[in-house]
Subunit: 357 residues, 2 copies
């Protein structure tokens, strides 16, 4: 029997044929006049998705590269920083910060919970931090943080707000300028509906003040060098040209749909997934009030192995689900419903799960 | 009039239609069984081009990212290192090493010359270096270093040999294991005939001994983490999946052609370009004995601006040439003749130049 693939993991996500097609174009000179226009278009398009007028850098790297760039451009060894750790990607911030010898404190929230504003404020009262790191959407647990409220309290204590929105951006509203987010990281392979290979980082005026004092070693990730080249329509190093072609098309699709409608669609898919899973008697990791619009983490029925279930569903129906990460490995499975994902995709995933549990 | 493009810059290079076509494939799970096979295939294929059995890491980044990775995995702040600077990419090694606070000495050779073995040995006798950095092919000047002889003398003084072969690999023989090259860097957008977005770094046993003592901060570029994931057929972070599809096809093409034949073709194109340019009375930056097989740097006739000439040739014939870098900006132009480049492409480029000078 012919099988079709339904890639329901939280990235890389499915890519529209329109986007794949434009990526087949021949290479052009990345320092020539045509690329200048493309870089400008893509930068402006991504800025609209970030809701920002800050500088916006496009980096040849995975999302984690963007996270590293967000750190080394604002900090020095020994700086006191706080991470709001609600899952594997909060833990990743801790790891990168430790690798670059920042002095890291973390508040580790229970898996499946969002960062609690009161707990964060208590910590900020106790100790002065230069920067606070948090996720917009925690991919490993399917939890959406209340970035607006968290940023407000962090700013009250005058710390830099650094947000990883790699899996969150476009799936739920994020207002970089209105909420005062100093550094925001995103990537191409999530709701931008593109293959992996590009990360995006926005950088506020306050972040530039931090940059001036930041002593962590940097070259590839150096934003000053990126800004100098961006001013002449270039990148410091050779950019992944075909992904820029794809980004231009992806931005067109997002503009045709309208960003607010895209948020609504993601909410609908999330609610559809959660209602369906609950009706099968399955337990979800995150509660409704903090549920991610990008990915839903689910416990399998008692006695059923999460990874065995995923394997069976993949083999029988071509529906690709994600497993658990770190402590949750083998304990949960995750359904991605972001980017180029339709109601019919969620229907198929739910149906396949229902048949196999 | 319809115009066709001839992208004769030293990267990104022209991409064969076969390669572009396979890149249109839908995304797959980068942690699933199918990607494990692709990663293995691509790694084995690239190792053959490196002529190595060392570990080989594939990184989502431009070539400069690979250069940074080659540094931070083997050194600590304050380590004494030597750079053989024969052009802009030698200078780039110096910049990265300084950014990470190595104690850098450099031998700056005249632009258009290769690194001289005797001069290098004299320096190595004077001072003990932990590592020596050099280019296989210097893209900015079109000069091929005698890596075999340079590596032999560097190894005599027990320093680590780190080679940037980003624009050199596949255009001219490089025998990583036979010549004892500890760290070698390459990238996708040169003779691999692929769009930019991947870098490749090989890492010897001796390099791993350096790794164990190296204290430069690293997370994204960390080879231990890459090795741990590679052992299970994965990457630590989301890889640019479509470029891996393209790499599989590019490796097939290289295997069909045979690596030694590919070296011969590159030599032929180089000789054709040089003979043609000389017959027009143009002066070349590099002499025949050190001439690059990837790119030729040319002085325009007296009174003619290099960049004005490039612009005219681009507009009239669609032939895209590269300009000079750093000190050579505006003084030379460069013709790339690497990767998916045919005799007919060089013919057109030469003809266009002849008509416009």
């Amino acid at each position: 029997m012919i099988q079709k693939q339904y890639l329901m993991i939280p990235g890389p996500t499915m890519v529209p044929e329109r986007v794949l097609r434009v990526m087949v174009r021949e290479m052009i000179n990345h320092r020539g006049p045509e690329f200048i226009k493309i870089l400008k278009n893509v930068t402006e398009g991504v800025k609209k998705c970030f809701k920002t007028n800050n500088d916006l850098f496009i980096i040849p790297s995975s999302g984690t590269g963007g996270m590293e760039a967000a750190i080394v451009n604002v900090l020095s060894e020994g700086d006191d920083v706080l991470v709001l750790n609600i899952g594997a990607f909060g833990a990743r911030f801790v790891k990168i910060l430790k690798a670059f010898r920042a002095n890291v404190d973390e508040i580790k929230f229970e898996r499946g919970k969002a960062a609690d504003v009161a707990t964060v404020e208590k910590k900020l009262k106790e100790k002065k931090y230069k920067a606070v790191f948090l996720q917009h959407n925690e991919t490993s647990t399917g939890v959406l943080n209340d970035v607006k409220s968290l940023a407000a309290v962090i700013k009250k204590y005058d710390a830099l707000v650094v947000v990883d929105s790699v899996s969150g951006l476009i799936t739920a509203d994020l207002r970089t300028d209105e909420w005062g987010l100093d550094v925001v990281v995103a990537a191409s392979q999530k709701a931008f509906m593109l293959p992996p290979g590009l990360s995006f980082v926005s950088f506020s005026k306050k972040a530039w003040e931090y940059y001036a004092k930041a002593k962590m070693p940097r070259f590839y990730w150096d934003f000053k060098s990126m800004k100098d080249f961006a001013d002449k329509g270039q990148n410091p190093f050779t950019p992944p040209v075909s992904l820029y072609y794809g980004m231009e098309e992806a931005i067109k699709i997002l503009e045709e749909q309208g960003l607010e409608n895209v948020f609504e669609s993601h909410k609908k898919l999330r609610d559809m997934a959660r209602t369906g899973l609950k009706s099968m008697g399955l337990k979800l990791l995150a509660s409704d009030d903090v549920a991610s619009c990008a990915v839903t983490a689910v416990f399998p029925p008692e006695g059923v192995g999460a990874d065995e279930l995923r394997k069976k569903i993949n083999e029988k129906y071509g529906v690709v689900l994600a497993g658990g990460q770190e402590d949750l490995k083998g304990k949960i499975f995750r359904i991605g419903h972001l980017g180029f994902c339709a109601e019919t995709d969620v229907m198929i995933a739910l149906d396949a799960i229902k048949k196999e549990i």
